[in-house]
């Protein structure tokens, strides 16, 4: 019996969300009085191999094989299923990323396991059953889900669990990836937006709405974001108008985010937008309309013209660093 955690790396290196995930999985292992095994696929930088142990893994399985060079749910799921069987995994934990959720879903069918994606808290254990929480109705509510089978898979929503350093020594095992029958999805090219903080995992987000008046005015939001180490986002009317790409649209039909700090500039706060950001820890609203509904859902507010307020914030931040 074990808890199995699948961790992703970016071109061979782990990033902070990987260790948040290992820390989360270790807590589950403690609650189930069992050990934690980490599984890694593809070409990992050798210097990274010992790192999962520093967050609680007592065994690390590195699955190798040409077919794992680039992400494909079929081949990755086959590899993880094999490790799951050899470790007799009771719980599998994966990242709540685009790829992690896709992979977990394939695994759930392959293993006949319960699956809850994007969980926001540690499971409560009662006997064989686990109870976990997740966001539903695009952030308008939470649900508690009970697993009713021997094996469960959870993916962890980004920014929901803190890193907990531990001192474990992990046994490191190499494994050859199993062959699969399913035709592979081939990756022709990876296009990364360099120098930008990825929005889905960002701890701070600076977001603009129609009040910004036009795409030419985004420079100041980007400057503020860069000073704060933040990602930029926008409301639906902004991406619909083509001022910003769809990938920046947060809200009910865009992406749902849960950063530590969400700064909304010139966004009135329609119910669909609020749903996508309501899990943010702290919300700041800057809007010149004192009647903007967003102020009712905010922790801090500035009633004022963004074109005056934002440059002042930028100036202050520059002076203090």
């Amino acid at each position: 019996m074990a808890v199995l955690v699948y961790i992703e790396h970016n071109e061979g290196r782990f990033q902070k969300p990987a260790f948040e995930l290992v820390s989360f999985a270790k807590e589950i292992a403690i609650r189930l009085q069992t050990t934690l095994t980490a599984v890694i696929t593809g070409a990992l930088d050798p210097s990274e191999l010992a790192r999962p142990a520093a967050y609680g893994a007592s065994k690390t399985v590195l699955v190798k094989g040409e077919q794992l060079d680039r992400f494909d749910t079929g081949t990755y799921a086959a590899a993880i299923a094999e490790v799951s069987a050899s470790e007799n995994a009771q719980v599998l934990v994966l990242p709540g990323s685009f790829s992690g959720n896709a992979l977990a879903s394939r695994l759930a069918v392959k293993l006949g396991a319960a699956l809850v994606t994007d969980v926001t808290d540690l499971p409560e254990v009662s006997g064989n059953r686990l109870a976990v929480k997740k966001n539903v109705f695009s952030g308008k509510a939470f649900a508690t889900i009970h697993t009713e089978t021997g094996q469960a898979i959870f993916t962890l929503a980004p920014n929901t669990f803190q890193v907990i350093p531990r001192e474990e020594k992990a046994e490191i095992v190499d494994m050859q990836a199993p062959a699969t029958e399913i035709p592979r999805v081939r990756v022709r090219e990876v296009v990364r937006e360099s120098g930008k903080v990825p929005l889905p995992v960002a701890e701070i987000v600076v977001s603009g709405g129609r009040g910004m008046k036009g795409p030419e005015n985004w420079g100041m939001l980007e400057e503020l974001a860069s000073l704060l180490g933040a990602a930029t986002a926008c409301s639906k009317p902004v991406s619909d108008a083509g001022w910003r790409p769809h990938s920046e649209h947060v809200g009910q039909t865009g992406i749902t985010i849960a950063p530590n700090l969400y700064i909304a500039v010139g966004i009135s706060g329609a119910i669909q937008h609020l749903a996508g950001v309501s899990s943010s820890r702290v919300i700041v609203v800057i809007n010149k309309d004192p009647e903007a509904p967003f102020f009712k859902a905010a922790d801090y507010g500035i009633i004022g013209d963004a074109f005056e307020v934002i440059p002042k914030l930028i100036k202050t931040l520059k002076e203090r660093t």
Binding site: I145, A152, Q272, Y300, L317
Partner: protein, 244 residues
């Protein structure tokens, strides 16, 4: 080309969400239901790919007869026929198995759905169908083009995108950008009434999990307003709150 589009039926995006039966059931009374917005994108893409007699689009929904007006809307937008698997859709494992069984009876070149439903936000369906049918699954795409006997897609990743290709048949989940949702016109609405809507029986699938209870997020306290002439005070407050 034969395309199957999976549609889910969700509360209108402006719905205030409440629960009944001691917070164990979603309160459906007075709620307007719509096609899941992401599924509308998938439907629009399927219609675009089959334009000018270049194939057909079938929509499939797993749900009760209550959903038929929503299914008719998909027909009005342009799908040529619909399948409704008659069952209470309890989770993605159940729904994906019903859809996979329907596909085993009738072959499709491509299966499209939305990236997730806006009610239970699982984002699991496409991958699960892929596994039941042992075909490639591409999750959360931003574009889709046919190039000869390959489908080329932009797949979303946290730090940007990947350009991927796959053979047919495959399943993909669509997000914004894949296509512009379409609106039904009068002719579509009239013709939808006579398009076939097949109702099929569901098959048994083991229950692996259950929604136990729901809650709405706690309200935030009173907003603290900061003078627009001194926005620097905001930075002090955010540092005190340890979010900067």
């Amino acid at each position: 080309m034969k395309i199957l589009v999976c549609i889910s039926c969700v509360p209108d995006t402006t719905t205030k969400i409440t629960f009944t039966d001691n917070n164990t059931e979603f309160n459906r009374s007075d709620v307007q239901f719509i096609i899941n917005p992401y599924d509308e994108i998938a439907l629009a893409k399927a219609l675009e790919l089959t334009e000018n007699g270049n194939g057909s689009v079938t929509v499939i929904h797993v749900g009760t007869a209550d959903a038929e007006p929503v299914i008719r809307k998909a027909l009005a937008i342009g799908a040529s026929e619909a399948i409704r698997v008659d069952a209470q859709p309890r989770d993605a494992y159940f729904v994906s198995k019903q859809i996979a069984s329907a596909v085993e009876k009738e072959e499709f070149d491509m299966i499209l759905c939305g990236r997730e439903s806006s009610d239970y936000n699982g984002g699991q369906l496409a991958s699960m169908i892929g596994e039941w049918l042992q075909i490639p699954a591409v999750c959360v795409i931003k574009s889709l083009d046919i190039q000869g006997d390959l489908a080329v897609m932009e797949r979303q990743i946290e730090s940007g995108k990947e350009i991927v290709e796959t053979t047919f048949p495959f399943v993909a989940s669509c997000s914004e950008g894949v296509a512009e949702p379409r609106i039904a016109n009068m002719r579509g609405i009239m013709s939808a009434r006579s398009k076939p809507l097949h109702v099929v029986e569901a098959e048994d699938v083991p229950r692996l999990q259950q929604f136990a209870s729901f809650e709405t997020p706690p309200a935030r306290g009173q907003v603290k307003l900061i003078d627009a002439d001194h926005p620097e005070e905001l930075i002090d407050l955010l540092r005190e709150a340890k979010v900067l």
